[in-house]
């Protein structure tokens, strides 16, 4: 699996090139056809000529990040988030900026200089800067440009029984999709790596229109809060209890037939599968389900603690189970058709 490589690759919404290039290399030997569209979505096609329902599997390539919006006279950089980032996770973190990976840090006024009441206030995007060590505007401009994007610098690794890294949302899904390209199915399968999910599900709609699938499964990383200080009803999902299916979120009500099929397959094959137990957030499923005359769609996701922060934590067994379940799902559709 390429989870480490894909987690550490850098690709913020609309700047997905590094991730796209990596995935293209990984899937090329395993699919019949690879192409991109004008938005930057990457497609791998397998068994186009085969009979049976056309299945689309989708995962988004990009991650949340920061964009440099201004270079100040003192050489510090102002920035804004691309996608949803809580500014509270940014304080005291390093970032890499642009293609050249220019190192910068997000600092904060020393505690010694703060008034007690300041310590309870959020340092927001109006208060934070990226410091690249430039002593003035001219030096900074030699290294970065306005519009450059920055990512976290986290090195993937083990965390006890779990693993930690950046951007498991949705490199976990990308990793699963890459693995699935290695398998053979008795129906046409379109593996779609979408762009711009984090800024409003922008890439998946045109991709679904182009593929025009009979069925779609979106593979994701989703919120888990099975941690200290959260009551069990607020967990949303739990690490290690298998991938999670959303029955409903803000973007879609998953097709009952798809959800039903997933739970049936999980049960028949002894694969753990859980319901996502909050209805916040949205995924590419929202736009894919509404493509053309509608597509039966659902989202299956790997539970991730501290999502959209530099240190996302997940259980690799959930990813493995998600891959297995998706494999069974596609076989089942190829064998039994859309209606069963």
């Amino acid at each position: 699996m390429f989870l480490k490589e894909l987690s550490e690759a850098r690709g913020v919404s609309s700047r997905e090139q590094e991730v796209r290039d990596l995935i293209r290399e990984y899937i090329k030997p395993h699919v019949d056809e690879v192409f991109t569209d004008s938005l930057g979505n990457l497609y791998g096609v397998k068994g186009k000529e085969k009979k049976g329902p056309k299945v689309m599997l989708a995962a988004h390539m990009e991650e949340v990040g920061l964009m440099i919006t201004s270079i100040e006279k003192n050489g510090l950089l102002r920035f804004l988030p691309v996608g949803g980032i809580d500014p509270r996770v940014l304080v005291s973190k390093p970032v890499f900026i642009g293609k050249e990976k220019v190192a910068g840090v997000i600092g904060a006024k020393a505690i010694h200089l703060q008034k007690p009441e300041e310590r309870t206030q959020v340092l927001g995007f109006d208060d934070l800067y990226i410091d690249i060590g430039a002593s003035d505007e001219d030096e900074a401009k030699k290294l970065v440009k306005i519009g450059d994007v920055a990512t976290f610098t986290t090195v993937f690794g083990k965390l006890g029984d779990l693993c930690v890294g950046k951007a498991f949302d949705d490199r976990a899904g990308c990793t699963a999709l890459v693995e699935l390209t290695k398998l053979e199915f008795n129906c046409p399968v379109y593996f779609v790596f979408t762009v711009q999910e984090e800024v409003g599900l922008r890439g998946a709609g045109p991709a679904a229109y182009r593929v025009n699938p009979d069925f779609c499964l979106v593979l994701e990383g989703t919120t888990a809060s099975d941690v200290a200080g959260t009551d069990e009803e607020g967990y949303s999902t739990t690490l290690g209890e298998g991938p999670a299916v959303s029955v409903m979120d803000r973007s879609v009500i998953a097709h009952p037939k798809v959800v039903g099929r997933l739970f049936r397959l999980a049960e028949e094959n002894g694969i753990p599968l859980q319901n996502k137990r909050t209805i916040t957030g949205g995924t590419d499923a929202g736009v894919i389900a509404l493509s053309r005359e509608g597509v039966p769609t659902a989202t299956v996701a790997v539970p991730c603690r501290y999502i959209h922060s530099p240190v996302t934590v997940m259980n690799q067994s959930d990813l493995e189970h998600m891959i297995k379940l998706t494999e069974l799902f596609v076989h089942d559709i190829a064998e039994k058709g859309v209606e069963n």
Partner: protein
């Protein structure tokens, strides 16, 4: 000596107050070849002597400890609650990676509730201190096996090389100044200096300048320079409290400074064309100078500082040029301050 490499190594090593052994071992090893004598005292201070012409005993002190965390409680699901060792802004700890020094070193991350589970009002506030915990990805039984209450926790951070000579990392307060002492040390091996110089990497500064207290008693110096960090300029920092990175070390003019040492430092800096900044400081608090100045029957003391942005975060930022210039200034001082100067210090 490659000062950048030393800065990197020292910064990334663990050495929370009271548990400085790893960092202290590292600096003792680097100082050993240059020292006439080197020893460790009962609290763990590393004390090296570089003999000069015997005109007096100069103590140079920079602290080797860093702020850190300590295991306070392991909860029913294996999450770890912690206490702080030294002063933290908790806002800098969200989503921070750490190492827990249990039976073996464990990687951990500091967790916080996702925003969508917080009320809109709570999202606008910093996370309350009592909500912080460390996630080590293990079940309770395994955590109990590996971790005990009181185990030390270090913040994880790789040093980042920034533009020019600037670097960002943890524990530059005050290991950057230990590097400055090392730069001075190296220079002293090349010159015939007047003063006998005791270079000390002190322990437990962050919890109340405790290592400096006992090491200055042990050395009983005639004069001393404590070397520590001061705040770098940054939006929101008063201009008289924020010093410019890359414009040289900062000489304190506060009550921790003997007026004639202040004059002498300025004089040797001017002669050696060493850039410096001046801090009109109103307090003697906050550095090893506080303890050294009143050791035994009193020591003629002063404070040299290194401008540092984001002090007590894991991305403290400095300019290596200031470390080099500071090292030169300290060596010049040891070269030029003589017996007459030392003997005159008690005469007001």
């Amino acid at each position: 000596m490659d000062l950048a490499e030393l800065l990197n190594s020292l910064s990334e090593t663990s050495g929370v107050s009271g548990y400085e052994t790893m960092a202290a071992d590292l600096i003792a090893e680097r100082w050993l070849p240059m020292a006439d004598e080197i020893r460790r005292d009962a609290l763990g201070n590393v004390i090296a002597l570089k003999k000069g012409k015997g005109h007096g005993k100069l103590l140079l002190a920079a602290h080797i400890d860093e702020i850190g965390l300590m295991v306070k409680k392991i909860d029913e699901n294996g999450f770890i609650r912690f206490a702080t060792v030294g002063g933290f802004d908790f806002r800098t700890l969200v989503a921070q990676e750490v190492t827990i020094h249990g039976k073996e070193d464990l990687r951990g991350v500091i967790g916080a509730k996702p925003p969508h589970l917080q009320s809109p009002n709570d999202q606008k506030k910093a996370y309350p201190k009592d909500e912080f915990y460390i996630d080590v990805g293990l079940k309770r039984e395994k955590v109990d096996e590996l971790v005990r209450i009181g185990d030390i926790i270090t913040i994880n951070r790789q040093v980042q090389k920034l533009a020019g000579q600037r670097y960002a990392g943890k524990s530059f307060d005050d290991r950057a100044c230990v590097v400055m002492l090392t730069a001075c040390f190296e220079r002293l091996t090349q010159i015939n200096h007047n003063l006998d110089v005791y270079l000390v990497a002190t322990v437990q500064e962050e919890v109340g300048t405790r290592g400096a207290l006992v090491s200055s008693y042990g050395i009983n110096p005639d004069l001393a320079v404590a070397v520590d960090v001061c705040h770098g300029e940054f939006p929101g920092v008063r201009s008289d409290k924020g010093f410019i990175l890359g414009k040289g070390p900062v000489i304190s003019m506060g009550p921790d400074t003997h007026p004639r040492i202040l004059d002498k430092l300025k004089e040797v800096a001017d002669e050696g064309k060493i850039p410096y900044q001046l801090d009109a400081s109103t307090s003697a608090r906050g550095t090893d100078a506080w303890a050294i100045q009143i050791a035994r029957s009193g020591v003629a003391c002063s404070l040299l500082s290194l401008p540092l942005r984001y002090m007590h975060t894991s991305v403290e930022t400095l300019d290596l040029g200031d470390i080099k210039e500071g090292g030169r200034l300290l060596a010049e001082f040891a070269l030029k301050a003589d017996r007459q100067f030392v003997e005159g210090l008690p005469c007001f």
